[in-house]
Protein backbone atom coordinates (compact mmCIF):
# COMPACT_ATOMS: atom_id res chain seq x y z
CA UNK A 1 0.00 0.00 0.00
CA UNK A 2 2.89 2.31 0.83
CA UNK A 3 4.33 1.67 -2.61
CA UNK A 4 1.02 2.55 -4.23
CA UNK A 5 0.85 5.71 -2.15
CA UNK A 6 4.31 6.65 -3.33
CA UNK A 7 3.31 6.05 -6.93
CA UNK A 8 0.21 8.14 -6.77
CA UNK A 9 2.03 11.01 -5.14
CA UNK A 10 4.43 11.46 -8.02
CA UNK A 11 2.44 11.90 -11.22
CA UNK A 12 5.45 13.00 -13.27
CA UNK A 13 7.17 9.69 -12.54
CA UNK A 14 6.86 7.35 -15.54
CA UNK A 15 5.87 4.46 -13.26
CA UNK A 16 2.64 6.28 -12.48
CA UNK A 17 1.45 5.91 -16.10
CA UNK A 18 -0.64 2.75 -15.36
CA UNK A 19 -2.21 4.52 -12.39
CA UNK A 20 -3.11 7.54 -14.52
CA UNK A 21 -4.59 5.34 -17.28
CA UNK A 22 -6.52 3.22 -14.79
CA UNK A 23 -7.82 6.36 -13.05
CA UNK A 24 -9.00 7.75 -16.39
CA UNK A 25 -10.77 4.47 -17.22
CA UNK A 26 -12.45 4.41 -13.81
CA UNK A 27 -13.48 8.07 -14.10
CA UNK A 28 -15.01 7.45 -17.55
CA UNK A 29 -16.78 4.38 -16.19
CA UNK A 30 -18.17 6.25 -13.20
CA UNK A 31 -19.39 9.16 -15.36
CA UNK A 32 -21.09 6.69 -17.75
CA UNK A 33 -22.63 4.87 -14.80
CA UNK A 34 -24.02 8.10 -13.37
CA UNK A 35 -25.75 8.80 -16.69
CA UNK A 36 -27.19 5.29 -16.89
CA UNK A 37 -28.33 5.42 -13.26
CA UNK A 38 -29.91 8.86 -13.72
CA UNK A 39 -31.85 7.73 -16.78
CA UNK A 40 -33.07 4.52 -15.18
CA UNK A 41 -34.10 6.26 -11.97
CA UNK A 42 -35.55 9.42 -13.44
CA UNK A 43 -37.20 8.18 -16.64
CA UNK A 44 -37.91 4.55 -15.77
CA UNK A 45 -41.60 3.83 -15.35
CA UNK A 46 -42.55 1.01 -13.02
CA UNK A 47 -40.45 -1.16 -10.76
CA UNK A 48 -38.39 -2.98 -13.39
CA UNK A 49 -36.00 -0.09 -14.25
CA UNK A 50 -35.34 0.49 -10.54
CA UNK A 51 -34.58 -3.19 -10.01
CA UNK A 52 -32.25 -3.11 -13.02
CA UNK A 53 -30.58 -0.02 -11.55
CA UNK A 54 -29.90 -1.77 -8.24
CA UNK A 55 -28.37 -4.77 -10.03
CA UNK A 56 -26.28 -2.44 -12.20
CA UNK A 57 -24.94 -0.46 -9.24
CA UNK A 58 -24.24 -3.56 -7.16
CA UNK A 59 -22.43 -5.24 -10.06
CA UNK A 60 -20.49 -2.06 -10.83
CA UNK A 61 -19.37 -1.80 -7.21
CA UNK A 62 -18.21 -5.41 -7.14
CA UNK A 63 -16.42 -5.15 -10.51
CA UNK A 64 -14.71 -1.87 -9.60
CA UNK A 65 -13.59 -3.40 -6.30
CA UNK A 66 -12.21 -6.46 -8.10
CA UNK A 67 -10.49 -4.30 -10.74
CA UNK A 68 -8.83 -2.12 -8.07
CA UNK A 69 -7.76 -5.23 -6.17
CA UNK A 70 -6.37 -6.73 -9.41
CA UNK A 71 -4.55 -3.47 -10.14
CA UNK A 72 -2.88 -3.61 -6.73
CA UNK A 73 -1.76 -7.21 -7.35
CA UNK A 74 0.05 -6.37 -10.59
CA UNK A 75 3.77 -5.73 -10.40
CA UNK A 76 3.95 -2.92 -12.90
CA UNK A 77 7.73 -3.09 -13.02
CA UNK A 78 7.62 -5.27 -16.12
CA UNK A 79 6.57 -2.31 -18.26
CA UNK A 80 9.50 -0.75 -20.15
CA UNK A 81 9.28 2.66 -18.47
CA UNK A 82 12.84 3.67 -19.21
CA UNK A 83 12.52 2.85 -22.91
CA UNK A 84 9.27 4.75 -23.04
CA UNK A 85 10.69 7.82 -21.35
CA UNK A 86 13.75 7.66 -23.58
CA UNK A 87 11.44 7.46 -26.60
CA UNK A 88 9.51 10.50 -25.38
CA UNK A 89 12.72 12.44 -24.78
CA UNK A 90 14.11 11.59 -28.21
CA UNK A 91 10.90 12.65 -29.89
CA UNK A 92 10.64 15.85 -27.90
CA UNK A 93 14.23 16.71 -28.86
CA UNK A 94 13.44 16.05 -32.50
CA UNK A 95 10.45 18.33 -32.40
CA UNK A 96 12.57 21.11 -30.91
Amino acid sequence: MALIGQRSMNISDSSSIPLVIFSLILTAYIIGSVFVAYHLYHFGIGKAPKAILIIFLAGSGILIGMAVWAYLQVDWGFLPYEDFMQYLNVNSNLSL
Binding site: I25, Y29, V36, L40, I52, A67, D75
Partner: protein, 191 residues
Protein backbone atom coordinates in the same frame (compact mmCIF):
# COMPACT_ATOMS: atom_id res chain seq x y z
CA UNK B 1 -38.36 15.17 -20.09
CA UNK B 2 -41.02 12.79 -18.89
CA UNK B 3 -44.79 12.73 -19.35
CA UNK B 4 -46.72 15.02 -17.04
CA UNK B 5 -49.68 13.16 -15.60
CA UNK B 6 -53.00 14.86 -15.27
CA UNK B 7 -54.53 14.41 -11.82
CA UNK B 8 -57.60 12.68 -13.22
CA UNK B 9 -55.64 10.42 -15.55
CA UNK B 10 -55.33 6.70 -14.81
CA UNK B 11 -52.56 4.57 -16.28
CA UNK B 12 -54.01 1.39 -17.66
CA UNK B 13 -50.81 -0.32 -18.74
CA UNK B 14 -47.15 0.22 -19.57
CA UNK B 15 -46.07 -1.82 -22.57
CA UNK B 16 -42.55 -2.65 -23.66
CA UNK B 17 -41.20 -4.65 -26.54
CA UNK B 18 -41.34 -8.43 -26.20
CA UNK B 19 -38.47 -9.87 -24.20
CA UNK B 20 -37.34 -11.70 -27.30
CA UNK B 21 -35.96 -8.31 -28.40
CA UNK B 22 -33.46 -8.70 -25.56
CA UNK B 23 -32.39 -12.14 -26.75
CA UNK B 24 -29.85 -10.76 -29.25
CA UNK B 25 -28.45 -8.55 -26.50
CA UNK B 26 -28.08 -11.52 -24.16
CA UNK B 27 -26.49 -13.60 -26.92
CA UNK B 28 -24.08 -10.83 -27.91
CA UNK B 29 -22.94 -10.07 -24.38
CA UNK B 30 -22.82 -13.78 -23.49
CA UNK B 31 -20.56 -14.31 -26.49
CA UNK B 32 -18.35 -11.37 -25.50
CA UNK B 33 -17.98 -12.71 -21.93
CA UNK B 34 -17.05 -16.16 -23.23
CA UNK B 35 -14.62 -14.55 -25.69
CA UNK B 36 -12.94 -12.70 -22.82
CA UNK B 37 -12.47 -15.92 -20.85
CA UNK B 38 -11.27 -17.80 -23.96
CA UNK B 39 -8.62 -15.17 -24.71
CA UNK B 40 -7.56 -15.03 -21.05
CA UNK B 41 -7.20 -18.81 -20.64
CA UNK B 42 -5.73 -19.26 -24.14
CA UNK B 43 -3.06 -16.67 -23.42
CA UNK B 44 -2.34 -18.39 -20.13
CA UNK B 45 -2.27 -21.88 -21.67
CA UNK B 46 -0.50 -21.31 -25.00
CA UNK B 47 1.79 -18.40 -24.17
CA UNK B 48 2.30 -19.34 -20.50
CA UNK B 49 1.90 -15.71 -19.50
CA UNK B 50 1.13 -16.75 -15.93
CA UNK B 51 4.54 -18.35 -15.48
CA UNK B 52 6.21 -15.26 -16.99
CA UNK B 53 4.64 -13.05 -14.33
CA UNK B 54 1.93 -11.57 -16.52
CA UNK B 55 -0.92 -13.55 -14.94
CA UNK B 56 -2.07 -10.75 -12.65
CA UNK B 57 -1.79 -8.24 -15.45
CA UNK B 58 -3.96 -10.41 -17.74
CA UNK B 59 -6.49 -10.83 -14.94
CA UNK B 60 -6.58 -7.06 -14.46
CA UNK B 61 -7.13 -6.50 -18.21
CA UNK B 62 -9.92 -9.11 -18.15
CA UNK B 63 -11.67 -7.27 -15.31
CA UNK B 64 -11.41 -3.90 -17.07
CA UNK B 65 -12.87 -5.57 -20.16
CA UNK B 66 -15.74 -6.92 -18.03
CA UNK B 67 -16.33 -3.45 -16.58
CA UNK B 68 -16.77 -2.04 -20.09
CA UNK B 69 -19.05 -4.95 -21.04
CA UNK B 70 -21.12 -4.55 -17.89
CA UNK B 71 -21.87 -0.91 -18.60
CA UNK B 72 -22.57 -1.55 -22.30
CA UNK B 73 -24.99 -4.33 -21.36
CA UNK B 74 -26.90 -2.10 -18.98
CA UNK B 75 -26.97 0.72 -21.51
CA UNK B 76 -28.74 -1.63 -23.89
CA UNK B 77 -31.09 -2.71 -21.09
CA UNK B 78 -31.73 0.96 -20.39
CA UNK B 79 -32.72 1.48 -24.02
CA UNK B 80 -35.10 -1.46 -23.73
CA UNK B 81 -36.70 -0.38 -20.46
CA UNK B 82 -37.03 3.29 -21.37
CA UNK B 83 -38.68 2.56 -24.72
CA UNK B 84 -42.29 2.17 -23.70
CA UNK B 85 -45.86 2.82 -24.61
CA UNK B 86 -48.19 3.99 -21.86
CA UNK B 87 -51.91 3.50 -22.25
CA UNK B 88 -53.96 5.74 -20.00
CA UNK B 89 -57.69 6.33 -19.97
CA UNK B 90 -57.15 9.64 -21.85
CA UNK B 91 -54.23 9.13 -24.23
CA UNK B 92 -51.50 6.88 -25.50
CA UNK B 93 -47.91 7.98 -24.90
CA UNK B 94 -44.98 6.73 -26.96
CA UNK B 95 -41.56 7.15 -25.33
CA UNK B 96 -38.55 6.36 -27.43
CA UNK B 97 -35.08 6.51 -25.91
CA UNK B 98 -32.13 6.68 -28.32
CA UNK B 99 -28.81 6.47 -26.51
CA UNK B 100 -28.24 8.68 -23.50
CA UNK B 101 -29.20 12.10 -24.76
CA UNK B 102 -31.98 11.64 -27.26
CA UNK B 103 -35.52 10.98 -26.16
CA UNK B 104 -38.72 11.33 -28.16
CA UNK B 105 -42.11 11.50 -26.49
CA UNK B 106 -45.29 11.69 -28.52
CA UNK B 107 -48.85 11.30 -27.40
CA UNK B 108 -52.11 10.49 -29.03
CA UNK B 109 -55.56 11.35 -27.74
CA UNK B 110 -58.26 8.78 -28.31
CA UNK B 111 -60.33 11.29 -30.25
CA UNK B 112 -57.59 11.32 -32.95
CA UNK B 113 -57.66 7.58 -33.55
CA UNK B 114 -59.02 6.56 -36.95
CA UNK B 115 -58.04 2.94 -37.31
CA UNK B 116 -56.11 0.24 -35.46
CA UNK B 117 -54.48 -2.77 -37.04
CA UNK B 118 -52.20 -5.58 -35.88
CA UNK B 119 -49.26 -6.89 -37.86
CA UNK B 120 -47.78 -10.25 -36.92
CA UNK B 121 -45.06 -11.12 -39.35
CA UNK B 122 -43.20 -14.42 -39.61
CA UNK B 123 -42.76 -17.69 -37.78
CA UNK B 124 -41.32 -16.43 -34.50
CA UNK B 125 -43.83 -13.62 -34.10
CA UNK B 126 -46.66 -16.11 -34.67
CA UNK B 127 -45.21 -18.70 -32.30
CA UNK B 128 -44.29 -16.26 -29.54
CA UNK B 129 -47.37 -14.09 -30.05
CA UNK B 130 -45.78 -10.72 -30.56
CA UNK B 131 -45.98 -8.11 -33.29
CA UNK B 132 -46.80 -4.52 -34.13
CA UNK B 133 -49.95 -2.54 -33.37
CA UNK B 134 -50.45 0.27 -35.87
CA UNK B 135 -52.79 3.16 -35.11
CA UNK B 136 -53.81 5.46 -37.93
CA UNK B 137 -54.38 8.95 -36.60
CA UNK B 138 -55.88 12.21 -37.69
CA UNK B 139 -53.03 14.18 -36.17
CA UNK B 140 -49.80 15.57 -37.57
CA UNK B 141 -48.16 12.15 -37.24
CA UNK B 142 -50.40 9.90 -39.28
CA UNK B 143 -49.18 6.63 -37.83
CA UNK B 144 -48.54 5.53 -34.27
CA UNK B 145 -46.79 2.18 -34.02
CA UNK B 146 -46.13 -0.16 -31.10
CA UNK B 147 -43.14 -2.24 -32.13
CA UNK B 148 -42.73 -5.93 -31.28
CA UNK B 149 -45.06 -5.88 -28.32
CA UNK B 150 -46.35 -9.05 -26.67
CA UNK B 151 -49.99 -10.05 -27.27
CA UNK B 152 -50.74 -7.36 -29.87
CA UNK B 153 -54.35 -8.49 -30.38
CA UNK B 154 -55.08 -8.14 -26.69
CA UNK B 155 -53.52 -4.66 -26.69
CA UNK B 156 -55.57 -3.66 -29.72
CA UNK B 157 -58.77 -4.84 -27.99
CA UNK B 158 -57.84 -2.94 -24.86
CA UNK B 159 -57.21 0.27 -26.83
CA UNK B 160 -60.54 -0.11 -28.62
CA UNK B 161 -62.30 -0.67 -25.31
CA UNK B 162 -60.76 2.45 -23.77
CA UNK B 163 -61.44 4.35 -26.99
CA UNK B 164 -65.16 3.52 -26.75
CA UNK B 165 -65.25 4.44 -23.08
CA UNK B 166 -63.41 7.72 -23.72
CA UNK B 167 -65.81 8.69 -26.50
CA UNK B 168 -68.79 7.89 -24.28
CA UNK B 169 -67.45 9.97 -21.41
CA UNK B 170 -66.08 12.80 -23.57
CA UNK B 171 -68.62 13.67 -26.23
CA UNK B 172 -67.08 16.07 -28.78
CA UNK B 173 -63.73 15.59 -27.05
CA UNK B 174 -64.63 17.95 -24.21
CA UNK B 175 -62.72 17.40 -21.00
CA UNK B 176 -64.78 17.73 -17.78
CA UNK B 177 -62.40 16.68 -15.07
CA UNK B 178 -61.22 19.90 -13.50
CA UNK B 179 -62.34 20.81 -9.96
CA UNK B 180 -65.62 22.76 -9.72
CA UNK B 181 -65.48 26.56 -9.74
CA UNK B 182 -67.11 28.90 -7.20
CA UNK B 183 -70.40 28.63 -9.04
CA UNK B 184 -70.19 24.88 -8.58
CA UNK B 185 -69.87 24.49 -12.33
CA UNK B 186 -67.21 22.25 -13.80
CA UNK B 187 -64.39 23.90 -15.68
CA UNK B 188 -64.57 22.77 -19.30
CA UNK B 189 -61.41 22.39 -21.32
CA UNK B 190 -61.86 21.88 -25.00
CA UNK B 191 -58.96 20.13 -26.78
Amino acid sequence: MRPIWKPYEKIDSVIRRHRIALLFNYLYFGFMIVLGFVIYYSADYFLALGSLGFGEFMYFILLVYFLVLWQSFFRSLMDYYLDSWIITDHRIIDIHQMGLFKRDISELRYSKIQDISVKINGFWQTMLNYGDVIIQTAGAVNEFRFYQIPQPNKVKDKILQIYDQFNREHPNDIEIHEPPTDNNQPLITNH
